[in-house]
């Protein structure tokens, strides 16, 4: 063999050999190392089983009080950042939190099995699970994607919900969602935020359903939050993001171009629609456009807050009295 090629092969094989012989390595696929275990891997976590999917869920307060169901954003986030809402227990509500399928600490499914309609059915299942009697009132507080999911449910179930607080949903028709996402995730090409999101792609890549690794990668995106136009005060608390369901629902939205407003004009109950002062990607114009699908809207600006207005002190202090007053008028 030619000496040059021999030399080339020796260098190459030694190079690969040294790199490949690390001891004590960890597997990125092992639950609990890069991201917390879900309710499937950790039975000590509080959970409920809805439609054969194990969901991370908790409820606080008197089970016979009116239900206030809290819906997190994402898709794929978890309810940790909404735990301030436990305060509504003091106002006589039975406050229910759950991580939607594929999100937070709930069970993961393969990407091809996710359907938007299944999340709506799941929401109905959660209500049925906690509801003690047909007369028990049910209210929903949905933030961001949670506000969209609340509206999807109301659009299909006009009589089941006694009132709703909708906080900055991206949109209720797909084009509005796309427009908002485009503004919310606009990143300067020379910024550190772009590196925080994109540079990691050469370190970590996962197969389509490699949940642990993909959820971990998704969690690293959170570092770009502080440079985002959505205006949060600091980074938002979370347990674990669901990357696969996030990608799956965005892909389904692009494919199906849904319109979730078709029946909302028949929902005569007043809803409380809130938007934040510091989220420059949202604003009054978008808030009025999205909320106009409902015929009876109380539109409120939450001052000194960004998109996650319920999570941080200033936003919560301005949000809570408005939400409490609204809920008490319908309770």
């Amino acid at each position: 063999m030619n000496k040059t090629i021999k030399l080339f092969l020796i260098i190459t094989s030694l190079n690969y050999g040294i790199v490949g012989c690390k001891e004590g390595e960890l597997s990125p696929n092992k639950a609990g190392l890069l991201v917390p275990k879900t309710v499937v891997e950790d039975p000590s976590l509080p959970s409920i089983k809805i439609n054969n999917v194990l969901l991370h869920a908790e409820a606080f307060g008197n089970p016979n009080n009116p239900i206030l169901l809290i819906l997190h954003g994402g898709p794929g986030n978890d309810y940790r950042y909404l735990l301030n809402c436990k305060k509504f227990v003091d106002d006589g509500f039975y406050v229910v939190f759950y991580d939607q399928r594929g999100s937070g600490l709930s069970q993961r499914l393969n990407k091809e099995t996710y359907k938007i309609n299944d999340l709506e059915i799941e929401l109905g299942g959660v209500i049925d699970y906690y509801r003690k009697s047909p007369n028990q009132k049910v209210f929903i507080l949905g933030h961001s994607w949670g506000g969209m999911l609340a509206s999807i449910f109301i659009n299909s179930n006009l009589t089941k919900i006694n009132g709703a607080i909708i906080a900055e949903p991206g949109g209720l028709i797909w084009q509005d969602v796309k427009d908002y996402i485009g503004r919310a995730f606009r990143i300067n090409f020379t910024s550190e935020a772009l590196n925080d999101i994109a540079y990691q792609d050469q370190f970590l890549t996962g197969d389509e359903n490699q949940h642990e690794l993909l959820d971990y990668k998704f969690s690293l995106f959170a570092a770009a939050e502080k440079d985002s136009p959505i205006g949060n005060e600091v980074n938002t608390k979370f347990w674990r993001y669901g990357s696969v369901i996030n990608r799956a629902l965005l892909d389904l939205g692009d494919k199906q171009q849904p319109n979730w407003t078709t029946n909302l004009s028949q929902y005569k109950t007043k809803i409380l629609f809130v938007y934040s002062q510091n989220n420059t990607a949202y604003g009054e114009t978008h808030a009025k456009k999205v909320s106009s699908a409902y015929p009876n809207v109380q539109l409120e600006l939450i001052k000194d807050s960004g998109h996650n207005m319920i999570s941080f002190d200033k936003g919560w202090q301005n949000f809570y009295p408005v939400a409490k007053t609204y809920l008490n008028t319908l309770k």
């Binding site: 080339f8 490949g20 960890l26």
Partner: protein, 221 residues
């Protein structure tokens, strides 16, 4: 034997700590042994790089090369990449040339949540039409992130204190395919360009920025 081992160790060292500038083998004159260059482009972010190459006196054309690059951003050296490797012209027939490149890679990434240190390797083949004044070629490569040390930082540990810091293996890999071209400017200078597409190793998903682009300037001496 002793000399051979020393040579191999030296070459290994170089390969470990430096990559892959675009080379027009036909533009090299007999007395030119060195290549230095600068480049900028899209490489998992807006990237800037410098590179060096040393042409060896071997029967087949061979260059040891190194490259240092970092992405744009306000925290210098928080993220960077060092490639060191070797490229060998395996086939040269008329104006046709085929080259293989192998690079060792060390790279760093940091944000509020984690610091990643990765050892990886890149295997690439470039084949095309080469004239002394210009060339055009197709390129396909595989960049394997073999082992990554993940250190969870305060923002992550505040959320989840039980996360495990350590060496994770395997952590990923991306294919790249595209075209590259270049032209000689006088006897010593080259301008080159490459552009292409990135694909995750599962052939289904893509990186956040699924394209690469690089424009570079090299000087031979």
């Amino acid at each position: 034997m002793k000399n051979t081992i020393i040579k191999i160790l030296l070459l290994l060292l170089i390969q470990r700590i430096t990559n892959a500038q675009n080379i027009n083998w036909r533009a090299f004159s007999q007395d030119q042994k060195h290549l230095i260059g600068v480049n900028t482009g899209l490489d998992y972010g807006l990237s800037y790089g410098v590179n060096y190459g040393r042409k060896l006196n071997t029967k087949l054309s061979m260059v040891l090369n190194g490259e240092f690059s970092l992405p744009s951003g306000n925290k210098v050296l928080e993220d960077f990449k060092v490639k060191m490797g070797v490229q060998l012209e395996l086939i040269h027939s008329g104006n046709f040339s085929a080259t293989v490149k192998v690079n060792g890679i060390f790279r760093r990434f940091e944000n509020d949540y984690a610091r990643l240190l990765n050892f990886g390797s890149e295997f690439a083949t470039v084949a095309g039409y080469y004239k002394p004044r210009w060339y055009i070629a197709g390129e396909i490569s595989f960049d394997k992130a073999i082992v990554t040390h993940i250190k969870h930082l305060s923002a992550a540990l505040d959320n989840n204190p039980d996360l495990t810091t350590g060496w994770y293996i395997p952590t990923g890999g991306n294919f790249a395919y595209g075209i590259q071209s270049g032209m000689a400017l006088g006897q010593k200078n080259d301008l080159n360009l490459k552009i292409g597409k990135l694909l995750n190793q599962n052939f289904k998903t893509e990186p956040t920025l699924p394209f690469y682009f690089q424009i570079g300037y090299n000087r031979r001496f």
